[in-house]
Symmetry: C2
Subunit: 210 residues, 2 copies
Amino acid sequence: MAKAQAAKEKLLNAALSLIREKGFSAMTVDDLCARAGVTKGAFFHYFKSKDELGVAAADHWSAVTGALFARAPYHDHDDPLDRVLAYIEFRRQLLRGEIPEFTCVVGTMVQETYGQHPEIREACGASIFGHAGTLVDDIAKAMTDRGVAAGWTAESLAAHTQAVLQGAFVLAKAKNDVGVAIESVDHLRRYVELLFSAPQKKKKTKEKKR
Amino acid sequence: MAKAQAAKEKLLNAALSLIREKGFSAMTVDDLCARAGVTKGAFFHYFKSKDELGVAAADHWSAVTGALFARAPYHDHDDPLDRVLAYIEFRRQLLRGEIPEFTCVVGTMVQETYGQHPEIREACGASIFGHAGTLVDDIAKAMTDRGVAAGWTAESLAAHTQAVLQGAFVLAKAKNDVGVAIESVDHLRRYVELLFSAPQKKKKTKEKKR
DNA sequence: ACAGACGTACCAACCAGTTGGTACGTACGC
DNA sequence: GCGTACGTACCAACTGGTTGGTACGTCTGT
């Protein structure tokens, strides 16, 4: 069993990179097998169809990114607002290198599959909103801590952070330039700072970082 | 020649709806011809390749949306900041009906084509940033009017509005629900309001470093 | 021996793109 | 006013390569 599942793992990882490079529709099963270094027989041994692989790839992505963010250092701050801001800073620093290295697999995939492969759409949605959910508690705590009288919910702000990131990826692709994505994340950080500093009159906000 | 170009126009319009429904890669030329009610011969009479149609579709989208926004009522306000806020409100009100009816053709297309069809990517980029450009003057005027001492540029805020919108589309698709997109646009409006109301240390006076 | 993990060979459907045409309008010489 | 030469708009049938998927054989660990 040592080597068991080796092909499956290779296929899933190959899927993540290929979907980021060319999207789900344009990625062929042959592409995938070539990239993974396995044959088609192996592919159809583990996945009943290309669609089923799509779902599995979204779930795999959730697992991979879930682990990355779970062990990321932004959780270390004492103040919940600091944790939220540090999360945004962490996302900002992930914007490095070539575009396919930092864009979101499920964000790319859901755009092409939401109307045609409901199961893939659902898996992508679960990935995005599951990740957003990890921010809700900190946002909610920050809201009560600071007595923010909001016309918005913690859930909606958490979702908004993901919207900005997904949109930043789209713009980075459109311009073929990471810079525009970084600037959007900067606007997001500024928004969160303003949200939590504004309603308290002109009180000197907490220490500003960076 | 009343009928002349009729097929081309039908093909371009069919392309816009099909790309929004299934994406560029998954849309076949046969799909396109069936939807447009013309034959393949007509398609290849007007377009040398599917890729060339992709570029033409992006340009067509620019023209269609350009006209829509040019005649939209948000330009009527006297105050530049009001125009920007009314633009955001206008975008918010466009979020109606089924998802493929309000999402962005070029935002969808660029995600799947940016790495494989540089010309399509470029046309999509021109569409998005061309549209963002229509906001820059008003934002810049609002900045000087209100003496906003910004760590950001009018261009970057204009781009950020598009990032939020594109991201809102992605989330709407992922959740299969328009509501989450609307909430993100609300956050965007709140951000712009905060930006122009919160830290007015430097008023209309000349910049005096205190 | 046998069950799961692959590999090899293959197929039917489908795809972008081609070929060779028809229908029709226009320009022009006479 | 009329024939002809030519250009544009479009159509239907076809092609060669590709695609997702299948059938079945072989290897490996236990």
